[in-house]
Amino acid sequence: MMRLVVVLLAGLCGAACDSGGPVAPEQLVVEAFIEASPQTPRVVVRRSGLPDASYAPAAALVDGATVHARTAAGTLTFAPEAGGTYTAAVGLPARTPFKLEVEVEGARATASGLVPPQIALADIAINVPDTPVEAVLLEGFDLDSLGVTLDEGFIYPIEVTLRWARPAGYSPADSVYWVQTRLAPVVAFTSTVLDFFLLAEDVFNEQTAWQPGARRYEWTGVYAILVETRTTPLPVHELDVGLLRSTEAYARFARTRADRDRREPLSNVAGGLGIVAGIALDSTRLHVPQRPMASTPQTVGEK
């Protein structure tokens, strides 16, 4: 009976027992992308800010932190540089597991990672269609007013195939890695609808890209170049191509970076925010030349 009375009072209390509102913890934000030696590791430490106050990234940098990376072979100490940046004098070998520790003014953030073996783009094949295609250039919906901002235009949907080899000294332990690919034309445009059909960036388990026949990894993406008319030739442009190998923690971070108005990227930092991951990165900028209409698709760039 007493319990029921308690339940009754608790129910009547209702919202008065509700949470009093968001708190604003100030947290360490650790950003570290550690590549295998001979690259030297670099860590950036910042603080988070209050949501209602202005927040300048430069002002959020934290100096005076103690940063260590612990491995089976010993401890790597990071020296402070200007502006919340800390670097180590030597690098970590590929396939080295590590634990990064950051301490400042009693706050401590830690994260674990694994340095992946190096990655290198073996070749890049670009396939440009003969003519541009008609496309909807929908920029967004405003559901409250039923308004649609929309235009129709012409695009060249350009396929790019990236190929890369297995790391040297490959073993089954290397099957844990994930890959992020990126095609970024220097002059880009966005369209809400088209972005679903293009594939300018992807994050996937590396093993799913393995081509047994060719004995290499392969991924094909699509980006688009906007043109004015149906007869406009493909304009000369620059294309940044990136290929990154890392662990599942980085893949989760990379996959959850979109929809910033809804969510934040998943962090692997205990006691703080941000991302700490071993990465292997290769990137290049391609010059995609103008080509006459109705020419035969061909590989225009190769690394």
């Binding site: 009547l12 209390c13 027992c17 695009i155 910033r260």
Partner: protein, 883 residues
């Protein structure tokens, strides 16, 4: 708000506790009786005519008897005693201004050794002849009573031979008092109560309304009341009407499933004539598939339900289709903004009747479904703008013998959306209709189909059996073709089908006045089928495909027994046990229930309480990745080795009081905990792809994690009905909390539909021609996750640091309070020999744009939410004709 809640509850508690005892009856007018060897029936009739007192008597009791009496005074009891002196009869007051004349020597409420028998019969509607389930049957002299079963049958055993004064009552019907003999199967016809101005509630009638239902939290609504309350879309809709009841909300602004006491919509079970309906919604969950006029009775058990029902954690709604008018053909037709509908019912023979109802939306008939178009260049195309929904309800009912009845029920409801439109739509509809190279096509259809057969047989006056066989299916399909460029294409086809074949056998055995047993077995085979065939052509040669099929079958079996035990005149106890098993995962659960009702006073204070356990073997999961099959991506997933059934325990306590003739007060408190419910593994996950990882059950389950939950609260309501006025007011306070232990959640957080406080009111005036009602609701907003900090991270490919908002605590905030007031105005008139009723419904008369979602832009200098708003003020109209 809290202060008002406390004041409210103190007042309510005071009313419950303070009112006790009955007011002495004073007969204002002077009574004069003067008879000399006058036939008793003549004397009684004159007495009735002169005093206005209602006297109930059997003719055979008074036949041949004479009365000699002289009385002058103001005591009814004394006057009647005088009138009956020397006749061997006496008058028993059954309520104010009503007496029943009974024998002095027969049917005394004393357990003697006289021969005993069973008082039994069927209760029906006097106008239609249909059975009335859940009607109350009371013997005031014996202080016993019972409730009719689904066939309208009742039995009260162990009564001495002779005539018994019996009172029948049912919400929405006139109370009827009569004399019945034992061992004769009687048929009692109750007259529907006219909702007219000037109707007076007789004070002691509230005594008859004292519910014999033992389970706390039961809502039993007559269809007339559903029709009298504001709804949406211009026509009466059961689910919208339930929104005015405490503890019941809708998922969205006007659409979405029902949220009962903070539970999720998939935790509600919907039954039509004993068969489950898996998706009882039309028009993207805007209105229900339940066509109100087709139902005889609707019951909603909130949280706790009797042993007969199981398989869900939150509620059970049981609706029974009408048998059809047994006396005369009847037809009704109506047209609202959303749909047109009709109901036809008629007797076939003296022992058979049918009911047929249909409803269809007509928007597609106004704007057309297919539009052949061409342009100046000679290009031709056929655009499509079709959307419609329809329902068919039918029931055929046959009385095979006086002891047996057979009925067939059919329900078919379907929504069909068929669109082919160019991308560049504007509000100018005429601009849509032109040939387009870039277009989208959506072909969706979903619906339920139900066949049910029920056979009821009265083996003896004590033993009643009902057998139900049903086939219930839910099907949904979505085909999409999207061509945003001449070289890109999405083509996907998604199908899902769930089919149940079930058998339910239930029995009622009236062992004694102390024990009435209800028991049965239920067997259901569930068959789940789903398939996905998707293809994305990104450019001339880049293409992704995804093909999945999934088939699961499972057997769900249950047996139950429940005793309604009446150890004393005031106490009713209902212990029950349900044993259920599920073949997938080989689960076996024993879920006991115990409910009790103690009647301190049938008018002033009835207390109910109970404890129950529930188990749910099917859970509703939504794919959280893909846009391609967004509208039909919710699937029922059965328990298995990988996913345990959801379980709950609930304790509840309820009180009911009628302190004034027109006022009913109720209070319910509940506490519930839940285990193995499925919560989103990533609550922030948003759909961001055309085709997700697929539809395999494992893939869906990977998006969820086991969780635990807790809900508790109180619901207070007051109901005032006086003459043409009806006023309902309610307050509900409570919490619904959950957490995911496998994700490290250590403390409970507000669940998605946690509503700490809500207040509702309905004020209605029902007149001869005009009906007016105002209904309002004010409640806490749904929980919402508010960012608590901001930060930047610069990824390996980023040129600049990117801003993010930190959201460490899920549901740490709340959307603004929800407030809405609706007005409904109805006018009845006759024209061309037809009874018409026009109804204007004004939705959201304050034009308050309630917030149902909020976003935050991390790049704003200071945090400011961008709101997604609900519907503005809408006028809606319906016209109804009855033949």
């Amino acid at each position: 708000m809290l202060r008002s809640a406390v004041v409210w509850s103190v007042l309510f508690g005071g009313l419950l506790l303070v009112w006790s005892g009955t007011a002495p009856e004073v007969w204002a007018q002077r009574i004069v009786v003067s008879t000399e060897a006058e036939p008793l029936d003549v004397g009684l009739r004159r007495f009735r005519a002169e005093t206005g007192v209602d006297l109930v008597f059997a003719q055979r009791l008074v036949r041949g008897k004479r009365s000699s009496c002289r009385y002058e005074g103001n005591s009814l009891d004394d006057a009647l005693a005088c009138l009956l002196r020397g006749t061997g009869l006496k008058a028993e007051a059954v309520r104010r201004r009503q007496y029943v004349i009974v024998s002095d020597t027969v049917a005394e409420p004393v357990l003697s050794s006289a021969r005993r028998g069973v008082l039994a019969g069927f209760v029906t509607d006097a106008e239609t002849g249909e059975a009335l389930p859940s009607a109350h049957v009371a013997l005031p002299a014996w202080q016993i009573g019972t409730i009719t079963n689904e066939a309208g049958y009742f039995a009260l055993p162990s009564l001495p031979e002779g005539l018994h004064y019996v009172r029948f009552s049912y919400l929405g019907y006139e109370v009827q008092d009569t004399l019945l003999a034992i061992n004769q199967r009687s048929r009692i016809a109750l007259q529907p109560q006219a909702f007219v101005a000037g109707a007076v509630t007789i004070e002691d009638e509230r005594r008859n309304r004292a519910s014999l239902q033992v389970v706390p939290g039961l809502l039993n609504m007559p269809v007339q009341q559903v029709e009298a309350l504001p709804s949406f879309g211009g026509e009466a809709d059961l689910f919208h009407t339930l929104e005015w009841m405490p503890g019941i909300n809708k998922l969205g602004s006007v659409n979405g499933g029902m949220v009962i006491r903070g539970g999720t919509p998939d935790q509600n079970l919907y039954l039509i004539d004993g068969a489950p309906v898996y998706h009882p919604w039309h028009a993207f969950s805007l209105i229900s598939t339940f066509q109100t006029e087709t139902f005889q009775e609707v019951k909603l058990w909130r949280g706790a339900f009797p042993a007969e029902h199981g398989g869900r954690l939150s509620s059970v709604m049981e609706a029974q289709l009408r048998d059809g008018n047994r006396d005369a053909p009847q037809a009704q037709a109506a047209l609202s903004l959303l749909s047109g509908r009709f109901v036809i019912e008629s007797p076939i023979t003296s022992n058979a009747s049918f009911m047929l109802a249909g409803r269809r939306s007509y928007l597609d008939k106004l704007i057309g479904q297919q539009h052949p178009v061409s342009n100046a260049a000679g290009q031709r195309d056929t655009l499509r703008t079709g959307y419609y929904f329809y329902d068919w309800n039918a029931k055929l009912s046959l009385d095979l013998t006086p002891r047996s009845k057979l009925s067939f029920s059919f329900y078919r409801g379907r929504d069909v959306l068929d669109l082919r439109l160019p991308f560049d739509l504007s509000l100018d509809f005429s601009s849509w209709l032109r040939p387009a190279d870039l277009f989208f096509e959506v072909d969706q259809n979903w619906g339920n189909r139900l066949y049910a057969m029920r056979y009821q047989y009265l083996f003896s006056s004590r033993f009643f059996v009902s057998v139900n066989v049903y086939n219930s299916a839910y099907e949904a399909a979505e085909g999409s073709v999207i061509r945003p460029t001449s070289s890109a294409l999405l083509a996907s086809q998604y199908r899902v089908r769930l089919r149940d074949i079930g058998l339910r056998i239930s029995g009622d055995y009236v062992h004694s006045q102390q024990h009435q047993l209800h028991f049965g077995i239920q067997v259901a085979q569930h068959r789940f089928r789903s398939s996905l065939d998707g293809r994305i052509q990104r450019s001339a040669t880049a293409q992704d495909t995804l093909t999945n099929t999934n088939r699961v079958e499972a057997m769900d079996m249950a047996a139950y027994v429940e005793d309604t035990w009446r150890p004393t005149a005031r106490l009713r106890v209902q212990p029950g046990l349900r044993v259920s098993s599920f073949s997938e995962g080989q689960y076996l659960y024993v879920t006991p229930r115990l409910f009790a009702q103690y009647t301190f006073d049938p008018v002033y204070f009835i207390l109910r309480g109970g404890f129950s356990r529930q188990v749910q073997y099917l859970q509703h999961l939504r794919d959280r990745y893909s846009f391609a099959y967004d509208l039909v991506s919710i699937r029922w997933v059965p328990a298995s080795d990988e996913v345990r059934p959801g379980r709950s325990r609930q304790a509840s306590l309820g009180a009911e009081s009628r302190p004034l003739p027109s006022l009913t007060l109720t209070a319910d408190a509940y506490w519930r905990d839940l285990r193995d419910i499925l919560l989103p593994e990533d609550p922030f996950r948003v759909k961001d792809g055309l085709i997700g990882p697929g539809i395999d059950v494992g893939t869906l389950l990977g998006q969820y994690t086991p969780g635990v939950g807790r809900a508790y609260g109180v619901e207070l309501s007051a109901r005032y009905e006086q003459g043409p006025w009806r006023v309902w007011a309610s307050y509900a306070g409570g919490r619904a909390l959950d957490r995911a232990p496998e994700q490290g959640d250590e403390t409970l957080r507000p669940a998605r539909f946690d509503v700490p406080r809500e207040a509702r009111t309905v004020i209605a005036r029902v007149g001869q021609r005009w009906d007016v009602s105002l209904a309002g609701t004010v409640r806490s907003g749904y929980p919402h996750t508010v960012p608590e900090a901001r930060y930047v991270v610069q990824g390996p490919f980023d040129a600049e640091p990117v801003r993010y908002l930190h959201r460490p605590n899920i549901n740490n905030g709340r959307l603004p309070a929800y407030m809405r007031f609706d007005v409904s105005v109805g006018y009845r008139f006759g024209w061309a020999g037809v009874a018409w009723e026009a109804e204007l419904q004004l939705y959201n008369i304050l034009n308050r744009r309630n917030v149902f979602d909020r976003f935050y832009d991390p790049d704003q200098p200071t945090l400011r939410g961008e709101d997604r708003l609900g519907l503005p003020f809408l006028p809606l109209l319906e016209l109804q004709a009855s033949l």
